[in-house]
Symmetry: C2
Amino acid sequence: MASARILVRGPGDGRGRNMVPYQRVSVCGIHVTGVPFDELVRSAEMLVDALNLRRCYMDISHQSFPPGLAYYLDHHEAPPRGPNRQGLVDYGGAVVKFDNPWTCFIPADCKYHYRWEKGVVQIYRSEADMNVHNPLPYRNISFVKYVEDLCRLSDMIADGPLKSFCYRRLSYLSSKFKMHVLLNELHELALQKAVPHRDFYNIRKVDTHIHAASSMNQKHLLRFIKRTMRTCADEVVAVQRGVPKTLKSVFEEMNLDAYDLNVDLLDVHADRNTFHRFDKFNAKYNPVGESRLREVFLKTDNYMNGTYFARIIKEVINDLEENKYTYSEPRISIYCKSKSEWSKLASWALRNDVHSAHVRWLVQVPRLYDIYRISKLLNNFQEFINNLFDPLFQVSIDPHSNVELHKFLTHVIGFDSVDDESKPENPILSENMRSPEEWDDEENPPYAYYLYYMYANMVTLNQLRKERGMNTFVLRPHCGEAGPASHLSAAFLLSENISHGLVLRKVPVLQYAYYLAQIYIAMSPLSNNSLFLRYHRNPLPEYFEKGLNVTLSTDDPLQFHYTKEALMEEYSVAAQAWKLSTCDMCELARNSVIMSGFPHEMKQHWLGSQYQRDGPEGNDITRTNIPDLRLAYRHETLIDELDNLFKVHMT
Amino acid sequence: MASARILVRGPGDGRGRNMVPYQRVSVCGIHVTGVPFDELVRSAEMLVDALNLRRCYMDISHQSFPPGLAYYLDHHEAPPRGPNRQGLVDYGGAVVKFDNPWTCFIPADCKYHYRWEKGVVQIYRSEADMNVHNPLPYRNISFVKYVEDLCRLSDMIADGPLKSFCYRRLSYLSSKFKMHVLLNELHELALQKAVPHRDFYNIRKVDTHIHAASSMNQKHLLRFIKRTMRTCADEVVAVQRGVPKTLKSVFEEMNLDAYDLNVDLLDVHADRNTFHRFDKFNAKYNPVGESRLREVFLKTDNYMNGTYFARIIKEVINDLEENKYTYSEPRISIYCKSKSEWSKLASWALRNDVHSAHVRWLVQVPRLYDIYRISKLLNNFQEFINNLFDPLFQVSIDPHSNVELHKFLTHVIGFDSVDDESKPENPILSENMRSPEEWDDEENPPYAYYLYYMYANMVTLNQLRKERGMNTFVLRPHCGEAGPASHLSAAFLLSENISHGLVLRKVPVLQYAYYLAQIYIAMSPLSNNSLFLRYHRNPLPEYFEKGLNVTLSTDDPLQFHYTKEALMEEYSVAAQAWKLSTCDMCELARNSVIMSGFPHEMKQHWLGSQYQRDGPEGNDITRTNIPDLRLAYRHETLIDELDNLFKVHMT
């Protein structure tokens, strides 16, 4: 094996790149990956295999996949440069008009029929077609194939030489970034200074992971409760055994006086007792430790149809709008206990006019089948899925059947799967597992099982909606916050992007695959610090160095943050703890915009019209405040990594 | 030596304490300090000696000293409990009327005379007295005695057995606090919840260390500059070689357009390049790297008499007042280049009506004699001191000679000494050092020399002002941010409290002495993180555990903070990084109020009427949100430590 040499070069490295001038670090020699050639070939094969898998899952679900990488997979070489650029990835979500957010085109009933088969919907053009089992030619991935693919990933994760290869490459990427910064930092800063008007405060940032019910901070919730008690004490907020309860009487029953209430008593903030205690943390959603106040103030579906919740959410939204540069993708719950949940949610949003150009919704589905089964709300897991998807298929086939839901869905960009990932489960799926309708005992299905049935039905739903000109959805689950590595394999196949990803630090193969596939990861280090991983051990800075597409998000300002500017507080702590440069911070912010489900046109406005293109061509420093050279570094580095793999893969 | 045993006891430990019930950790046995008896005796002697020194320095300067400790020093035992409490320490600064902040009693000219003798003022009842060298019987400490005392402290610091003793006691205090928390944390929280209305958000916090010129955040300064450019472009802001310059022309000369200006270009934020580069950090005070903008916007003494600076400071003050619970003690500079600085400063404050019940000023004196000497502004160090103190003595003798200054001084609580402590200097003072008038070369005097002459003249000034019924001042220098340990010895003798104190972590003897004397330390870990010590290595949590009186302060929001709530951001990062409980945070906030120079009546209102009393008797949980048991723990622990020393010291 020839030895590799590290060169630092100025502009023009002779590889014909359209040069952004900066100090480049490159390695020359033969087989520059630092492993024996046969190991390189073997590793490349497996990684390309994994990337091909993901591409297939993304394609059929209408989720995004980097076009440059797709070109590599097809042609085993980098896409050609120049004006004839590749088909661009469509990251954007629903396009909505902003003058009246609830106005949208309402297509007619297409009269399709659908039927559940082994947990996945089949769609038919007509009842006749359904009777003869002649479904529409929508593509999907069978559970058996999925289990097979998971197994392949699982073998890769455990493969010794591949592990070493990926670990080496990741370490190399980390060192390379450090050298890049040493050589170019001051130049980057000078370029940023030269951009008129733009700075970190007035670039767009999206809070890509936040729960609506905890999107206000503790002081805000306290004030809201007190104010409501002052102004609405006599409103009936609940009915208990047929007896109407006013807000005042609810407080009286709890022996609470609104004036006396304080943040300590509210007790919603995470503290050192929540570390590795997800159960305790979940209980923090209950103000004063009482589900009654959560019910009254933080639910969309209660006796008052979530009026108070709508009010406080609108206050949160108002703060976002005033701030102008901060956007948010809050999660709102569908529990799948009943089919009416979707209608109620949509009707809550429309009746209370809860919307904003600053907000796009994700629907979070807690993995609580076992709880509902134990309390006999459901008979089997199929019913859980029915409650999630039936209303969506119905409204997508005939929007007039539920206009409110149809309208609300134009503001929804995808699905999130939530719960404590560290709960014990059998992480290994098998091909002959019970189907959802057979899953009728009190055992909770494993994470990867939940995720598959959300994915497979979303695939069909997205194809149907695409065909009908409606917006499609993405899967952005909580994944790798804790628990086994297999969760990250499942998400690698099924989801466009993820929240957390902490566990990737222990799984070099997946970490490298997430890097190659440029999967976005919304990280919340302050949340992790209270729950799973101390701040100074958080892998975010390391991921960022290596070039994984990470963003900063707050998760739960109610539980974690102190100031009125939760997202800025999150950036502040990260910047101080990890000594991020302003260029780093702007890159994190840009990542958050690209990851988000805001409409394509808004992203163009925020990042530049060409934002979907790779490298510096996709950058507009006057909007992003990121020097071209940073994106050139990122892009060239990725191309080098892919070249390493695809060159030998071809041979 | 009998072995010591650790006991955990419930209420009533048989020592006759007026019991606050909680789980107490105590050690029983003989000679419970863990060192051989003779070492204990020797250590106790030295520590008591050090405490006696400090007491003497504090007494004659009218700075505070804990009355409980004074009783120990007099009687070798704990002060008796009960209603006949000891003379209480007067922490408070100037008492001013709030209806009209500039109204105050203006005493007549007392016709005293004064003269400088070896760098320290002597005051005489009349000219005749002066001629016969018959000064007023004010007490003071000679430079020779000071150098002697410093040497004694310096010997103690280096004393092996004493070092071990102090290190052991500090480790014990740290472990004891950890046990206290394990046993009482939930009880503390329950007690806090039970306090109606009160929580961390609505207890008073004082930002005990902040520089006026950097008290706004970078975005605020940017907006202010842009707004001023929009509205006041044609105002003359400077005169350059006789030519008046408008704001517009200043911008034009710098090739700046106000709209184009951004935070990056402003370049006032600390970044990773300021670490261990105090010089670079100091340059960050210059917006856009230009002293011109600093001159126009951030100085009290410029062509426009600091109009713009007054305006932005009033905006900062306004934010404080709106927040209601946050107070601030900003530093404002007297450079000592000329005698007119005090008049100009006072006139700036009065003309622009810069004042607030939320603000008390400290005057900071940069240690820049060498710079002025090199540029021939001064001939010797005596002139530096003259410029600092002459106006103060003149106005204290005859307030009518400068009514503005007299009024302004009612809002000033003390002096700060500032600059890079890590600059090379000879840290050892000698008795036969040159006096200030002999100090006429370009060498900068060492830290401890500066501090002595500030102290010694403040001693005389305070005695004069006390006699005349005027407010007195304290010394609160930057100390132990970096540099040699001897700075901390100097401040141990001379100053009521200090800022930073990072170096105490390396000097167990002084750390323990600071604990015993309960000296308040304003710490700014975010500032340290950018300049001298990474956040996770900051000793604040450790000091806090041991019972040193630490507070959280921001130092320079312009350079370090991101949100609009800089002090809350500082608390937030500390709470998250170090997992502080809400009780810990409330204790830090209470410390900041006690440390501050706000008037006694305000402190009573904020903390409870008995706040000066030791232990739980001085606490009012309905105002401080701190359970009595926490203060009982602190007080009993301190008493135990003092008992250890004074019991053997007596024998």
